[in-house]
């Protein structure tokens, strides 16, 4: 069954808040800048890459794990859905 954008965002949000921000109650917005906003670092992008592999079976190449592609929850969801 194909995942909806909301499902993807829900799982990504849960992972980011618990594993990357260590703050499950943080009110993360869909368009909030995670990397340029200083909330996560480049190692976190590697964690996102591995999480997406295991949770959605989608491989995002290292060269796509960039600020331009992955700065917000919305952008991450788009990249996951692009396959």
């Amino acid at each position: 069954m194909a995942l909806s954008r909301e499902d993807v965002k829900l799982q990504l949000r849960d992972f980011i808040l618990k594993e990357l921000l260590n703050n499950p109650s943080y009110p993360l917005q869909d368009d909030e800048a995670l990397i340029t906003g200083g909330l996560i670092d480049s190692f976190s992008l590697a964690q996102v890459g591995v999480f997406v592999e295991t949770a959605f079976n989608v491989y995002i190449p290292d060269t796509d794990l960039t600020v331009a592609n992955m700065d917000t929850l919305e952008q991450m969801a788009s990249r996951v859905l692009a396959g």
Partner: protein, 475 residues
């Protein structure tokens, strides 16, 4: 041919004059010819090596793309070939030079020393990323030999980058390019800013950080040694940022936009930010082809962020590779190791609790962070510049000569402080208002500024009879 000479200015004008009147289908061939003429001004052997590297990588990529089996083996053959060229010409050259120096009674490197092609390290990393991207199907193998040869040889970026990826650079070569008045103004500004950085700032800071201090640091006071470190930090920055600015300006006049390489790195408030602002094209390359693959491989084994290997291995290995890319020498490895350690230590707080974004920290903590980053980066420049014994003697003198403050140390400090004012002002202006802020100023101010710069560059060129070559041209 140095890019700060009048000869180079004449060469660029000739290239542009012909380039602008040629139809698009001949422009790349003209640029390729010009690039090889530029490279031939160093020595003909460099051009021969570049031709071989171009042909091998062109055919390997075509083969890699069509192969259905043993793709990985082909990729490793390609990476191995490029690394072998680098290892032989760069590292073997180093060891042969050391060996012959030991044989000579004079201690000087002998005639057996192998010639190091200018810009070889830059070409090698571009070749490796091209082959990796083709193998991952992120870019197609080029079928246009002239364009591909130009990707390697393009003269504005040939000797010191920026490091461009084939998947962004080759499409720029395939499409028609338009250079309007706006582009001319912007890129002329980049060239002028680059000349200011190299000819005025870098040369002055280089003069304030003489090699003689490294040879006998005990005769300098700690204050003078600290001034030396600050001067060297700003010399290497303005030298490389100046080169990049000129290269981007020249390329912009051709209609090809090269990547930015620096964004006021000494204003960074932590080391993650520093490496996003210092030699950006190399940092991005290292992140994509070293740091992220290692991080992901480790995370697949153990997804915990706090795992000791996950914490330590990626930054340390990445910075050691960066050090080896610069030079195969123990002192350079220490430079890389220090930067790796800085990044590991910086990440520890994020293991225990939520990260506070650096821009949301109180102003005083941001300033304190920038000062700490600068001091640690400046200390790391010591093993970057000096051999280990020299660096050891320098640190010993820095720690033990207190409270000796001869009047000469105040003179050095005054000189460095005087040069820091324009250097920091230029960075602050560009960081706050954009790289091309000067174009928004009134015409009269622009004209006055340009006249001042031309006069200053002329005076400097008359004062420094031997303008030092660009530091990164040596890599």
């Amino acid at each position: 041919m140095s890019i700060t000479t009048l000869t180079f200015a004449g060469f660029v004008l000739l290239v542009l004059a012909v380039y602008y009147i040629l139809p698009h289908r001949f422009q790349n061939a003209w640029l390729l010819t010009a690039s090889y003429v530029f490279y031939l001004t160093f020595t003909w052997q460099f051009s021969a090596i570049l031709v071989v590297m171009t042909l091998v990588n062109y055919w390997l990529a075509r083969w890699l793309e069509q192969a259905e089996r043993r793709k990985k083996a082909l990729l490793w053959i390609g990476i191995g070939f490029n690394l072998a060229v680098l290892a032989f010409l760069k590292y073997a050259g180093y060891f042969v030079a050391q060996f012959t120096a030991r044989l000579n009674s004079s201690g000087e490197p002998g005639a057996l020393a192998i010639l190091l092609p200018v810009g070889l390290s830059f070409t090698v990393v571009q070749a490796i990323s091209y082959l990796v991207d083709v193998s991952r199907k992120q870019t197609q193998a080029s079928t246009r030999p002239v364009d591909f040869a130009l990707y390697f040889a393009y003269f504005p970026k040939l000797t010191s980058g920026p490091i461009e990826r084939a998947r962004t650079f080759l499409p720029l070569l395939a499409q028609p390019r338009r250079v309007d008045n706006r582009a001319i103004a912007e890129n002329f500004t980049r060239i002028v800013v680059g000349l200011v950085r190299k000819m005025i700032l870098a040369n002055a800071f280089t003069a304030l950080a003489p090699t003689s201090v490294l040879q006998d640091p005990s005769s300098s006071s700690p204050l003078a040694l600290m001034a030396w470190l600050v001067a060297y930090a700003f010399a290497i920055y303005n030298d490389f940022a100046g080169y990049t600015s000129i290269a981007r300006g020249v390329s912009g006049l051709i209609g090809i936009e090269l990547s930015p390489n620096f964004e006021a790195p000494y204003f960074s408030r932590n080391f993650t930010e520093f490496w996003n602002r210092w030699h950006i094209s190399l940092s991005n390359w290292l992140r994509d082809y070293i740091y992220l693959p290692i991080s992901r491989a480790l995370l697949r084994r153990n997804p915990s962020r706090g795992n000791i290997a996950n914490l330590i291995v990626p930054p340390i290995v990445t910075m050691l590779v960066s050090a080896l890319w610069h030079e195969a020498a123990l002192h350079m490895l220490i430079w890389g190791l220090l930067h790796g350690i800085y990044q590991v230590v910086e990440r520890i707080p994020s293991l225990r609790g939520p990260l506070i974004p650096v821009q949301k920290l109180p102003r005083w903590r941001q300033v304190a962070g920038a000062l700490v980053v600068f001091v640690l980066a400046a200390l790391a420049w010591l093993p970057f510049r000096a051999s280990l014994p020299e660096a050891g003697r320098f640190l010993a003198a820095l720690a033990t000569n207190w409270p000796l403050l001869p009047s000469t140390s105040w003179m050095g400090l005054a000189g460095v402080t005087a040069m820091l004012v324009p250097a920091l002002a230029l960075d602050a202006l560009q960081a706050h208002s954009g790289e091309l802020v000067f174009l928004r100023w009134p015409r009269l101010v622009q004209a006055g500024l340009l006249a001042g710069v031309i006069l200053a560059v002329f005076l400097v060129s008359q004062t420094y009879l031997n303008v030092p070559t660009f530091v990164y041209q040596g890599f």
